[in-house]
């Protein structure tokens, strides 16, 4: 089997597992959503067949068990509860472990436990699982003494066949010994060490000589896979003694112990965080086929122009050479942009990986947390995704640990018992903004002051503004947590965050409303990025508006627009301000329109309308900056070049109008 296919399969399953995990968490929150159960079936079917093909038998067992459990749920014979979600998430973890490493400690034990739990939920699974157990539980290495009676030939037993069968086993050592040195009497016995999946295999060989066989178990393992086993056996020498069994047994036990230790040492390094798994998979980028087709199209254009260039050079047509060389330069710059785009991934890859963390941490601390993701289509360079994982992890942990209160506490404060953590991403001028907001208890500024005094970061009589005090939480060692636990609270979290973001040339800001909320904002520079936009025009100029902020687009007769009073309009029962882009940007356009376009934008809590002349369609735009000297012109995120070479300005909905 081509190992590349197997690797691709592993990558694909890892992607599917992530989706599976977030589906499970969604399902826990809204068990009535039938389509999520269908997603689980889709997941199972996508990997079951291929897992078997690539030899992941344990994964086949796990997904089969999952399938049967969810079949019962679909039929209405089982209710989704925390237990089922826990088990399914555990199943997901196990699949990941089977994909990643050959064997981690306790892996098969964990699998057995999981399967037992599944059987408790659905006893019908026992039959299926038994078939599989045969191959795992009965694996043993046997020590056998086969001492045939002297009359063995009279009984018409084919001794040669027995010995040949034993030697023919995949894992066996067969050694004859002379019992008595009496040449007149047949008296030979064999020492046999054999590993089999199923004892029946051995029993079959010895079926006619059962009474002449003594079996002992050396270990519940395959001793032949242990390092140096055969060599050790040979070192026992040619003479039989009764302690050979003991010696072999001790050797095996020692080897097993060493092996386990080695694995544990390894697993400490890797299982500390599932992050490593993520990074491995991110070394590949999977692309939609059309992107490769586009690249190919560019390459064929290059070849054509290159040919034309050769012709022009041969003819010494300087003018033609100039023209072609310019076209080539444009083309090359397009290819450069396009190639860079291929590195971009939607930020959802990153955000969704925290779903599980939020769920598990909240349960651990008896808190209720709703996790909301916004702007997950924002495209981001894949190196950012890797580097942002840990800092965001700390921020989210902090939010659960220090921010969100227990349900009782929240009820006492007249808050909903369920806390909210919102993570969002959006594009601003030349910046990528990531925000984590929680509606918890906020940051206690007095406590920061107290701790800062204790740590000597602050003088007794020093007066600081709230913002300056908040900045102190990035100092190493400063924590407002009363207790230090395994989750967070060692006071290093914020320092780690600031260092990591600093390495990306970004900034971190903290904002808090005591008792109400904490917001952490990460601002990253974006040299190249792509944004989904709506293409509109006004005053003969092209504009692009990020789709993320658009609530509605509507064509209105000009008369209706002229009738707008006080720059305000009714929108779905809400009064929102409206601005006419032509007037706002002082654009001149002689053209008359019967109808114009009203776009309603939303920024955070605020909505407003912008009037354009015309709407053209949706475009994925590469953001180009106008240059540092235009930094103050912040109503534009940047500009982009349209397919026909014209330039369009990308409006920044956050800056065009401030509510």
């Amino acid at each position: 089997m081509n190992p590349d296919f197997k690797n691709l399969f592993i990558l694909e399953v890892k992607d599917l597992l992530q989706q599976f995990e977030s589906d499970l968490i969604d399902l826990e929150n809204s068990p009535e959503r039938q389509e999520l159960i269908d997603e689980v079936f889709r997941f199972v079917h996508s990997i079951k067949g291929a897992a078997g093909m690539y030899g992941f038998n344990e994964i086949v067992i796990i997904v089969h068990n999952l399938e049967e459990i969810f079949r019962k749920i679909k039929q209405g014979n089982l209710q989704i509860d925390k237990k089922i979600i826990d088990l399914s998430l555990h199943a997901k973890d196990l699949i990941l472990r089977y994909l990643n490493v050959e064997k981690t400690p306790n892996l098969s034990e964990d699998l057995q436990n999981l399967i037992r739990e599944f059987e408790r939920l659905n006893p019908e699974l026992k039959d299926f699982n038994k078939r599989f157990n045969k191959t795992s539980e009965n694996q043993k290495t046997y020590y056998i003494i086969f001492h045939p009676d002297a009359d063995i030939y009279q009984r018409a037993v084919n001794l040669t066949a027995i010995i040949e069968d034993l030697e023919g086993l995949k894992y066996s050592l067969v050694k004859p010994f002379e019992a008595h040195k009496n040449p007149e009497k047949f008296d030979i016995f064999w020492e046999i060490i054999a590993y089999v999946d199923d004892l029946a295999e051995l029993d079959q060989i010895f079926v006619f000589v059962q009474d002449e066989v003594q079996k002992k178990i050396l270990c519940d393992c395959n001793a032949f896979e242990l390092q140096g086993f055969k060599e050790f056996y040979q070192s026992l020498g040619e003479n039989f003694s009764a302690d050979r069994y003991e010696k072999l047994r001790n050797f095996i036990q020692d080897q097993l112990k060493q092996k386990l230790q080695k694995q544990e040492n390894q697993s400490v390094g890797q299982s500390a965080d599932s992050l490593e798994v993520k990074e491995q998979s991110l070394n590949y980028v999977r692309l939609p086929a059309y992107q490769l087709d586009n690249l190919l199209k560019y390459v064929s254009q290059l070849i054509t122009y290159n040919y034309q260039l050769q012709v022009a050079i041969d003819k010494s047509d300087t003018n033609q050479v100039k023209i072609i060389s310019q076209t080539l330069q444009t083309l090359i710059s397009e290819i450069k942009d396009y190639t860079l785009q291929l590195r971009l991934l939607p930020i959802s890859v990153l955000f969704r990986s925290y779903n599980r963390l939020v769920r598990d941490l909240a349960f651990q601390q008896n808190k209720k947390v709703r996790f909301i993701i916004e702007g997950e289509d924002t495209m981001i360079d894949k190196t950012y995704i890797e580097k942002l994982y840990t800092p965001l992890l700390h921020i989210i942990r902090n939010a659960i640990d220090h921010g969100i209160e227990t349900p009782q506490e929240r009820i006492e404060k007249n808050k909903s018992p369920v806390g909210t953590i919102k993570i969002s991403a959006y594009q601003s001028q030349a910046n990528l903004i990531i925000q984590v907001q929680d509606d918890g208890r906020g940051i206690d500024l007095e406590l920061i002051r107290k701790r800062a005094l204790e740590l000597g970061l602050l003088q007794q009589d020093e007066k600081l503004t709230d913002q300056e005090l908040l900045k102190l939480i990035f100092s190493p060692g400063l924590t407002t947590s009363a207790k230090v636990d395994e989750i967070s609270g060692r006071g290093m979290g914020m320092t780690v965050i600031r260092t990591a973001i600093g390495e990306l040339k970004g900034e971190v800001e903290v904002d808090t409303e005591p008792g109400l909320s904490t917001t952490i904002t990460i601002k990253l520079p974006v040299t190249l990025s792509i944004i989904e936009t709506l293409h509109l025009s006004a005053g003969g100029i092209n504009f692009l508006v990020p789709v993320f902020n658009i609530v509605s687009v509507e064509k209105l007769p000009v008369s209706q627009i002229q009738g707008i009073k006080d720059g305000r309009i009714d929108f779905r029962g809400e009064t929102v301000p409206v601005l006419d882009l032509n007037k706002f940007l002082e654009l001149k356009d002689g053209q008359q329109y019967d109808k114009r376009v009203l776009v309603i934008l939303s920024v955070g809590q605020c909505k407003y309308g912008v009037i354009f002349d015309n709407v053209h369609g949706q475009i994925s735009a590469v953001i180009k900056n106008l240059g540092a000297v235009f930094y103050a012109l912040d109503i534009f995120i940047g500009a982009s070049i349209l397919g026909d070479g014209r330039i369009a300005y990308i409006l920044d909905p956050f800056k065009v109008y401030k509510c």
Partner: protein, 155 residues
Amino acid sequence: MDSYVFFRVGKYNFAIAIKQVVEVLDIVKTQILPKTPQFVVGVANFRGEILPIIDLTTMFKLNSTDELDKRYIVVLKYFMENTESFLGLSVDKVLGVSEGKVEELERLSQMPLQQVKQYTVSGVQLGDDFAFLLDIDGLLQAIAMEIMRYVNSKK
């Protein structure tokens, strides 16, 4: 001696070190850039990159001497705020590229032009004539300041 690009704005000669110049273009098609001061001509598509263009004649408050039907764009590449950007300077006429020796303006017995004092501290001999040498960093900062002042005044 270093090489310089020499050009004319109004009745004055100016010079820019050649290492800061990407190329010189004939007149290009531009599109207005809203909410910017008058000296910002607009933006052009420069081989798939955005090229904003500044009219130096307007910026320096000079008048073009001849009735020129043609203008030239000196394209600069600059780094500021960690980003690389292009900027086009629209000038009356490009005189050419040649080597030159930098001198204090006083030694050239010239007084700096009042409008460009902050970014011209020296000059370059150009044949019998001479040219004001533009300090590009100073010029870019002045442009950025002007734009910021204008944007803020419109808010």
